[in-house]
């Protein structure tokens, strides 16, 4: 090989390495266009879903706060009822003892003296708050508290729904990030290692490793219409 031939060969190799060679550039531009096209298609959908997630979170938070207010109100009323029972207990006990003692000491006592005395004690006992009604009311409040507690638990499904939406959005961001990294890799060729930050390279390899079985944006953020529970029930009835 003479010097001229050697230079040609060297030039050819250099040209191959040059990232801005037209033939090298074309597929990169195509990749960029594809990425932009895909992102443009998905990003508005992701934005709309993010807004829905925010709205749903706000609605659920308001619902939970409403339930907590009702819960606190019921706890206060429950405590009030408990206090009524608790405050009347000493007098109740006294009256029970007085009725008991009056009856025990009734031997030889004239009925005209005994009966008015017993009637008076019994009237006072009855005039104390009717404990049965209070207990019934307290039981209803406990049921209401249980219902409210379940309601809060069920509202927390929003966490799972949000997590899935976020995962899909994260997937889209990762996809864009990795496509960009790949494009830069093509641009810079061998110099890629020094140009791309370590974290991006690691993310890229992790992404490629995890791609199989990974939730995709489409999995969670479908572009087609979501059916209502009633529509789903109808489909299952028709099966």
């Amino acid at each position: 090989m003479n010097e001229h031939e050697h230079m040609d060969e060297s030039e050819r190799v250099n040209n191959q390495k040059t990232p801005f060679d037209f033939h090298n550039l074309l597929p990169i531009i195509e990749d960029i266009m594809l990425m932009v096209h895909e992102s443009l298609k998905k990003i508005p959908h992701v934005t709309s879903n993010l807004n829905k997630v925010t709205e749903r979170y706000e609605r659920v938070t308001a619902e939970i706060l409403g339930v907590v207010d009702r819960l606190n109100e019921n706890i206060d009323l429950f405590l009030g009822e408990l206090l009524i029972i608790s405050d009347s207990l000493p007098r109740r006990k006294e009256l029970q003892d007085e009725i008991h003692n009056t009856l025990m000491d009734s031997a030889g006592v004239d009925a005209t003296t005994l009966l008015p005395r017993l009637q008076s004690l019994w009237q006072e006992y009855k005039s104390l708050h009717p404990i049965d009604e209070i207990i019934q009311s307290m039981l209803k409040r406990i049921e209401s508290l249980q219902g409210d507690s379940t309601s809060i638990t069920m509202s927390l499904q929003v966490q799972d729904i949000t997590a899935q939406h976020m995962e899909a959005i994260n997937h889209l961001i990762e996809s864009v990030h990795n496509r960009l990294t790949l494009i830069l890799q093509k641009f810079y060729g061998a110099e890629f290692q020094s140009v791309i930050p370590d974290s991006s390279r690691k993310k890229l390899s992790d992404y490629i490793a995890r791609q199989s079985g990974k939730v995709t944006t489409h999995d969670v953020l479908p572009e087609s219409e979501i059916e209502s529970q009633n529509e789903i029930d109808r489909m299952f009835k028709e099966k």
Binding site: T150, T153, M154, S155, L156, Q157, V158, Q159, D160, I161, A163, Q164, H165, G213, K214, V215, D219, V220, P222, S224, E225, I226, E227, S228, Q229, E231, I232, M235, F236, K239
Partner: protein, 124 residues
Amino acid sequence: MGLKILVVDDSATMRRIVLNALREGGYTDIIEASDGKDALEKLMTDKIDFIITDWNMPNMSGLEFVRAVRSETDIQHIPILMVTTRGVKQDIVEALQARVNNFIIKPFTPEVLKDKIEQILRNA
């Protein structure tokens, strides 16, 4: 109620929510699995009467899990209720084809869950 229910979901929070809803409905014999593989192992060792599974799970999706259950002679008869965030027609068609007994969209109430379980058991 004597019904042994297997709840399959990768989200521990969601499993707790389903468990609470089931208890509210009077179901107390419940076991949990964090993914399809774990669930299949439990199905081989425990006598399960009913399965409630999430759709979106890593490694093995809910749909793949349903197909796996339906392909095993010993467990293919167990009724399956699928719970999902997505309610897309195509998914529902796939779920029907995979012989899912019914389908609920999140968020749901304990009443809806109980109603669906009873409906499936009546038709089983």
